[in-house]
Amino acid sequence: MHSKLKLYVLVALIMALGIGLIAYKHFALGFPLLPDDKKSVWTIEAKIDFVARGDPVIVSFALPAETPTTVIMEEDFASSDYGFTELSTAAGRRAQWSKRAASGHQTVYYRVSEYETDPLAAPPPAADLPTEPEKPEFDEVMKTAATTLLDQVRSKSANTEIFTRELITSLNSDTPSQTQNLLLNEKPSEDYKTHLIINLLALEGISARIVRGLYLEDGRRRQSLTNFVEVYIGNRWLLFNQNTGKIGKPDDFLIWQRGDESLLDVVGGKNSQISFSIIKNVHPTRTLVLRDSMNKEAGIIDFSIYSLPIEQQNAFKMILLLPIGALIVVIMRLLIGIRTSGTFMPILIALALIQTTLLTGIVIFLTVVGTGLLIRSYLSQLNLLFVARISAVIIVVIAIMASISILSNKLGLDQAMTVTFFPMIILSWTIERMSVLWEEDGPREVFVQGGGSLLTAIIAYLFMTNRTVEYLTFNFPELMLVNLALILILGQYTGYRLSELYRFHSLERRNVSGKP
């Protein structure tokens, strides 16, 4: 019992380690559990145009920040002849292009590729605490209008969140009252509206800031940034759409800049203009996550199969499938009780089937083994020694495979050509075993064991070629630990095999009828 307990502890440890690693990779690093998981990668190009006056030029441009939900894959600051630096300021990252002297029309580009991820945990309380809002300076008329509007809104709201939303909706009302008209002027610009909302909130003692962002839509050109208002409520920054009052970040929206810093400063130039164009690409999530993890040098990825050259990775793709085949063999033999010729011969046959595809593989297997058996029976009459005979069988097998290849080529069947990948030694050995079995135990046993091997191989093949299984074994090699734990548990199984329920079924009848 003691050793059994030890085994169960071991199994539990292995299982926990395996599942833990898988969970870490899935939840923390974002590895998807399904192969078809895809993400949109947005490539955004900001084009900055200005006319230089012949003096030294400095272009300073605010860059989007990497957040827990936004992953920046690639950035490109392509501008010929310009010196470039990236600055980190309190208000965020800025790009700075500079040139000693430039004149005429100038263009600089900034290109960024980014995608969104699901954050692992709820965002932590905002680190960038707001300063106490400064009381804005309004003239008398404006101040009265502002107070009136704030009073109205306040009377309709219960907390800051609703207050903000109500304020924004009433400012955007289709039938504006006089006060609203007075506050908004005729046709207010976006920026004016944003600042008005922030000022009104400040009057109420609420901290707010401007947020500029870009709606992501595939194939759009000449886009500009959209203003949002972010309000500090209950230790968190909440984003409000300033035209609808809707709370929260819209989907496919990239926050470019927070706060009232300028988006673009051009020193030594005029008529500066900025426009954005957007392209969407779809990439498998796995590729993106792998790249991101590599960049971050996550230990589990850095010391993994992914750090190997691609060629070896491909080899491992195959090798990592073997444990699945082993599990199938264990289940088939220990639980079902199917007899196979050789313990792991079915896995090797399954590997061969993977190379040839199922149907062709089976046909080739049966043809080669069948013909091989015939020839082997002739060889056995020649009174050869064992080693010589099996070597002769190998040569015969090669000859058969060559003829199948040539024949299929002449018939225009490309598929059968893959026969050359069929591991020859396996086939020769199968033929040898089968023919010995035939001599010793008769043809019935050959069909039982040969059929059992082939059946197990086909089931193993079906599992091993399943896209999801293939994906999971390669991307989560930790599954091997889970597999190992399962096999250790199965190794403990001392109950009946399915085939034994049949084997002993006559006993049941006898005992029911009253004999001891």
Binding site: L334, G337, N383, L385, F386, V387, V436, E440, D441, G442, E445, Q492, Y493, T494, G495, Y496, R497, L498, E500, L501, Y502, R503, F504, H505, S506, L507, E508, R510, N511, V512, K515, P516
Partner: protein, 333 residues
């Protein structure tokens, strides 16, 4: 129904393959002792040392060039058996019953040339019949003479008696009768008849062929009901003694009755199969459990055989069967 319910089989104490491998073989048969029984030559020498009767060894061949001496070796013998030393499951055994003008006759009447026998020997030497295809040796034994008691029950072969010995106590027995279907071999897979034998009396209990109940021998049509194996006590004692000889806790002893020499051991098996349960219509687990509960193992094979006779007698048991505590109920608890 084609399938038995696992609960029922368990309640009858039927042991399955997995349980045999884990609970009996790997538990009671230390790996290093396997060569003693896998190598028939070693077994034979061991048995001779322990004073157990075995078929006479006529000669051995170890290397391919020894095959040349085969003719000389066989000349004085009219009847003989050629066996691979490390063969399993009766594979590679060639029986010659008559030697006439350079023709060697099998029990079936087929005639072989010396060259055929030489090829058979070469095959054995190159490992065709051995476990894992390893190079093997050949042993030539004297032929066992059919005891007349079995003459009505066998077809072209010698029946053997398989006795399962657990920790030195014979716990179940089966007589294997050759048939036409089995090609004169005592191999249940190939169609030999398995007859469950009462440990207490040596009487036939029940017979199966290909897993189905049969009431009489398929070739000789003789019913099994009045079959009683002679020298039963001696057979049980011989089987029990194999435990002391090999140290294997779960052992299958194959014995035969020779017309002239009486009971003898022909082979021991460290991985005896489970078909014996079908032939006996009884499970091994309750009997294993009885022996496992014993405090000490009697050092004398004779008294162990006597204990088994008392304990496992089916027909006229001197004491009512005890309520049993099986290993499977151990596991369930």
């Amino acid at each position: 129904m084609f399938l038995a319910s696992p609960e029922k089989l368990r309640s009858f104490g039927i042991i399955g393959m997995n349980q045999r491998n884990a609970g009996l073989i790997s538990r009671y048969n230390p790996r290093h002792l396997f060569p003693l029984v896998d190598n028939k030559l070693k077994t034979k020498l061991l048995a001779q040392k322990a004073g157990i009767t075995v078929p006479q060894l006529l000669g051995t061949l170890h290397y391919q060039h020894d095959v040349k001496s085969l003719k000389e070796l066989l000349r004085p013998h009219d009847q003989f058996v050629i066996k691979p030393v490390k063969g399993s499951g009766g594979k590679g055994i060639l029986v010659i019953v008559r030697n006439d003008h350079n023709l060697y006759f099998k029990p079936s009447g087929d005639a072989l040339q010396l060259a055929d026998i030489e090829r058979h020997v070469s095959n054995i030497l190159s490992g065709l019949h051995s476990l894992g295809g390893k190079p093997d040796s050949v042993m030539i034994e004297s032929l066992i003479q059919l005891d007349p008691v079995f003459s009505d029950y066998s077809y072209q072969g010698i029946p053997d008696i398989r006795i399962i010995v657990f920790l030195g106590y014979p716990i179940m027995a089966m007589l294997r009768l050759t048939t036409h279907a089995s090609d004169g071999k005592a191999n249940l897979h190939q169609g030999a008849v398995g007859v469950g034998i009462d440990i207490g009396t040596g009487r036939a209990l029940h017979a199966v062929q290909f897993g189905r109940t049969v009431l009489h021998h398929p070739d000789t049509r003789k019913t099994f009901s009045d079959l009683v194996i002679p020298h039963w006590d001696k057979l049980l004692q011989l089987a029990a003694a194999c435990y002391d000889m090999t140290g294997l806790g779960y052992l299958g002893a194959d014995l035969v009755l020779d017309r002239d020499q009486g009971p003898m051991i022909i082979e021991l098996n460290a991985r005896p199969g489970l078909a014996i349960q079908v032939a006996n219509y009884a499970g091994l687990a309750p009997r294993v459990a009885i022996i496992e509960t014993l405090k000490s193992i009697d050092p004398s094979p004779v008294s162990r055989a006597e204990f088994s006779k008392q304990q496992f007698c089916v027909q006229t048991g001197p004491q009512p069967p005890r309520t049993l505590h099986t290993r499977s109920s151990d596991n369930a608890a």
